[in-house]
């Protein structure tokens, strides 16, 4: 975890139920490989993305966040992806103000037909984050992960070391 070559980033991806989640499904059904570093959360629309979700993810140990949605003009809810776009720019500015590299948050448009694009974007984003290095926000906040909500309950004694 100390140098960027062995650093294995963790990325949270927010997907839209109608396009990018289905792009991820398509990447799966067509067996298109991409790095294991991303973990996805399904939203109904990129417009549902509350910027606090991103802060929460970064604060809880994610090194980057990928926000995905329908291409401009193709939103299932007509225009809500534009609202995601507005929030995304605001979010990047806020992150910068907080001293976090804004590049840790990326916005990607992927239609339900773009499984390949989804996989490629994940691959390149993992490399971008790898180059930036670990964020370790929960540490630099002086917070132990053990006081951040549900995970704080006593861990099972026989906790196994599992790679991220």
């Amino acid at each position: 975890m100390n140098n960027n070559e062995t650093f294995d980033p963790v990325i949270i991806g927010f997907t839209c139920n109608w396009c990018s989640y289905r792009a991820a499904d398509l990447a799966g059904t067509s067996r298109t490989k991409y790095p294991h570093n991303i973990r996805l959360i399904r939203l109904m629309c990129s417009g549902r993305l509350d910027p606090t979700f991103v802060f929460k993810a970064l604060a809880n140990g994610a090194d980057g966040v990928m926000i995905t949605g329908c291409h401009p003009g193709e939103c299932h809810y007509l225009e809500q992806n534009y609202k995601a776009l507005r929030r995304f720019h605001l979010l990047r500015r806020t992150l910068k103000g907080l001293g976090v590299e804004p590049e840790r948050v990326k916005l990607v448009w992927a239609s339900a037909a773009e499984g390949k694009k989804f996989a490629t974007e994940v691959g390149s984003f993992v490399e971008e984050i790898r180059a930036l290095g670990p964020l370790n926000w929960y540490r630099s906040n002086g917070r132990s992960p053990d006081d951040s909500g549900p995970t704080s309950h006593e861990p099972a004694p026989d906790l196994k070391e599992v790679p991220a």
Binding site: V10, I12, W18, C19, R22, A24, D25, G28, T29, R31, T32, K33, Y34, P35, H36, R39, L40, I41, L43, M44, C45, G47, R48, D50, T52, F53, K56, A57, N60, G61, A62, C70, G73, E74, H76, Y77, L78, Q80, K83, S111, A112, A113, E114, Y138, S144, P145, D146, S148, G149, P150, T151, H153, P155, A156, L159, K160, E161, V162, P163, A164
Partner: protein, 666 residues
């Protein structure tokens, strides 16, 4: 405390091949015990009846209050596991399906990493399910009327099936007559039925059916609402003919002095008048005036049609009419267009007069077409002695369309037979692969082989008119490699027919957007499931049929039309449908009345109550996108199924491992 059951599916080896499912199940039972997980099991096929029974048994015997299934995409089996929970007496919305197949085993190769990610995904699901609420599905009523867009064979079939079952159908077609591409054809493979003989009775039936309202020369402008309750705005373009007075006698187009090349129905091979019906058997029989070419609109005088019309049906001042219809289901059957052969300059289309497209040749073959069914060169009198048919023009070609257009092989065989029969000419089929699946197709291929058609396996490199030998003088020359023999050939021909690809309509993207659908990379509309749900779409209540979903022949289009109709009828018959209860609602006590959310809803579901000074959300109009939930600064709006608590919990769960991996000293 909640009792959670975690079930990890092997999916045969689909998941178990890359993820150590047993380790995931055991890990969840041990490591997530303090979160309420009381049982962690793995099973070969969770979706099988035995797998489902496993969950049902645990719910009953262990008193589970939440269920997490780690298996395939929720788009595939969410409903399966919810139903299993429901059978065991647990509210179906207390079940969470997390994807470790599409998102883990199928896209990753390293087993340790995939197993660790599966654990994280399960942990995310467990945290999330703790915040699930018991919900009831929303019930909405289904309006019994149906809109069918596109009056080709698929649309006609769908409309007739629904109308015959006793329900009203609006059949919208943008051309002056229904019939679609099939009406242009001469014969249909493999039986060589005349297309008009089998199609026109269906057109007449659609035109006279008491339950079908034909809206030809019309286009859908706007679609509002949702399944069961669509409100559709349709523009009835002005025909400049009063349809209530017109009898379709045909005197107007007989007397009209203006001849126009017909680029649509006759594919540029024939002419029509400025007031016209596209063909003799058109349904309805009412003509339209082509305003761009009508002498009256250009010069201000003429009005021959008006003078001769026996019922005074001509109305030069008619305006477009906008109507709104309410329907419960919509069937889209807007079909295809053919590839523009000009794009492949090496075949000389447009420069060499005797290079035709397949649609042009269809018109030429048609007994009611421009040559009365005679196969003639462009000089209008001589018959060809050698004809070449080039397959895959614009299909199976990385430069244009990668897909196979499905119909061209059989169409090429049909053309070969017709040329043989009518001219006795030598016929050359230039193919890449012969594809003749389905009933009676292979037999037809054998028949055409026996008729003496030459089959040359090779993609034609070029069609030119530059002779090198006396035999090539005045001929078209096809330069091709016969790849079975491995020799280059130059074949002199009199006529070349290009089997052009089927392509999505030029405005398919706009249509998709208007109806809330998505297109594949090629531009065809995406079905809900390519194998198991080919006529439904991701937008409930909108069905697709025929070539709009992808290239297909007439039998397949008819089958899809009927299938779409059956889908619509099922919903109409059930009278109501249960929808996902994913909706936003306002907690009034928290709402400060700031109105930030008010402008965010494209469905007008959000309104402001002036007296109480709070925002309200209309659940019937809300589509559940959650944009307002994300925007509310007071956290006063909640979105069922996707609440802040649920998402936050899922984030924590997903990141449990890497936080837990290296404990920070206190």
């Amino acid at each position: 405390m909640e009792k959670i059951g975690v079930y990890v599916c092997h999916c045969g080896t689909n998941i178990a091949g890359t993820v150590d499912v047993q380790e995931v199940a055991e890990w969840a039972a041990a490591r997530l015990k303090h979160r309420g997980v009381v049982v962690g099991r793995e099973y070969k096929f969770m979706c099988s009846s035995l797998g489902q029974e496993l969950i049902e048994k645990d719910i009953k015997e262990l008193g589970l209050t939440r269920v997490v299934v780690a298996a395939c995409s929720p788009h595939l089996h969410e409903n399966t596991f919810r139903t299993a929970c429901k059978r065991a007496g647990l509210n179906p919305y207390l079940c969470e399906l997390v994807s470790i197949r599409e998102q883990v085993s199928w896209v990753h190769t390293d087993k340790d990493m995939a197993t660790a990610k599966a654990m994280a995904v399960v942990s995310g699901g467990v945290e999330r399910v703790l915040h699930h609420e018991a919900l009831e599905p929303l019930k909405v009523s289904i309006h019994p009327d149906t809109l069918v867009v596109g009056g080709g064979i698929a649309g006609i079939q769908a409309a007739l099936e629904i109308a015959d079952a006793g329900y009203k159908v609006y059949l919208v077609e943008r051309e002056p007559s229904i019939g679609g591409h099939m009406a242009q054809f001469d014969k249909t493979f493999p039986t060589l039925d005349c297309a008009a003989c089998i199609l026109t009775p269906k057109m007449v039936q659609a035109g006279t059916h008491p339950n079908i309202e034909l809206l030809t020369w019309s286009e859908v402008e706007k679609v509002d609402g949702y399944v069961g309750n669509f409100s559709v705005t349709i523009r009835k373009k002005s025909r400049y003919v009063k349809t209530d007075l017109c009898t379709g006698c045909g005197i107007c187009w007989e007397k009209c002095p203006k001849k126009v090349v017909d680029d649509v129905f006759e594919a540029g091979m024939g002419t029509r008048k400025a007031i016209y019906t596209p063909f003799a058997q058109a349904v309805p029989r009412y003509p339209v005036i082509d305003r761009a070419n009508c002498t009256y609109y250009i010069k201000g005088t003429c009005k021959a049609c008006e003078k001769f019309c026996p019922t005074s049906a001509i109305d030069f001042n008619q305006e477009d009419e906008i109507i709104t219809v309410n329907v419960g289901n919509i069937v889209l059957a807007t079909g295809y267009e053919t590839f523009d052969a000009h794009r492949m300059a090496q075949y000389g289309y447009g420069r060499l007069p005797n290079v035709l497209t397949s649609i042009e040749f269809e018109r030429m073959c048609n007994a009611s077409g421009p040559t009365n069914g005679e196969i003639l060169l462009r000089d209008g009198k001589s018959k060809p002695k050698a004809v070449g048919i080039v397959h895959c023009v614009g299909s199976r070609d990385k430069n244009y369309n990668e897909y196979c257009s499905v119909i061209c092989c059989m169409q090429g065989l049909k053309f070969a037979h017709l040329v043989h029969e009518r001219t006795g000419a030598e016929v050359y089929n230039f193919y890449i692969d012969m594809r003749t699946p389905f009933k009676g197709y292979e037999e037809f291929y054998q028949r055409v082989l026996e008729e003496g058609t030459h089959f040359i396996r090779g993609k034609v490199a070029e069609i030119n008119d530059a002779p090198r030998t006396p035999e090539e003088q005045g001929k078209l020359i096809a330069q091709v490699e016969d790849t079975l023999v491995g020799v280059q050939m130059r074949i002199p021909l009199d006529m070349v027919i290009l089997s052009v690809a089927l392509e999505p309509r030029h405005d398919a993207k706009e249509t998709a957007k208007r109806f809330g659908l998505s297109c594949s990379a090629d531009g065809w509309f995406i079905e809900k499931h390519p194998k198991l749900d080919p006529v439904a779409t991701m937008t409930e209540g909108i069905l697709i049929a025929g070539c709009v979903q992808g290239p297909k022949d007439i039998p397949a289009s008819v089958a899809q039309g009927a299938a779409a109709a059956a889908r619509a009828l099922g919903k109409i018959h059930a009278k109501e449908i249960a929808l996902e209860p994913v909706r936003a609602s306002v907690i009034e006590e928290k709402c400060s009345g700031c109105r930030i959310c008010n402008g965010l809803c494209p469905f007008n579901a959000i309104s402001f109550h002036e007296e109480r000074m709070v925002t309200e959300i209309n659940a019937a109009l809300c589509q559940g996108c959650g944009t307002c939930v994300a925007a509310c600064p007071a956290g006063a709006i909640t979105g069922t199924g996707f609440s802040n608590e649920q998402i936050f919990a899922q984030i924590e769960g997903l990141l449990l491992l890497n936080v837990g991996e290296e404990p920070v000293p206190a």
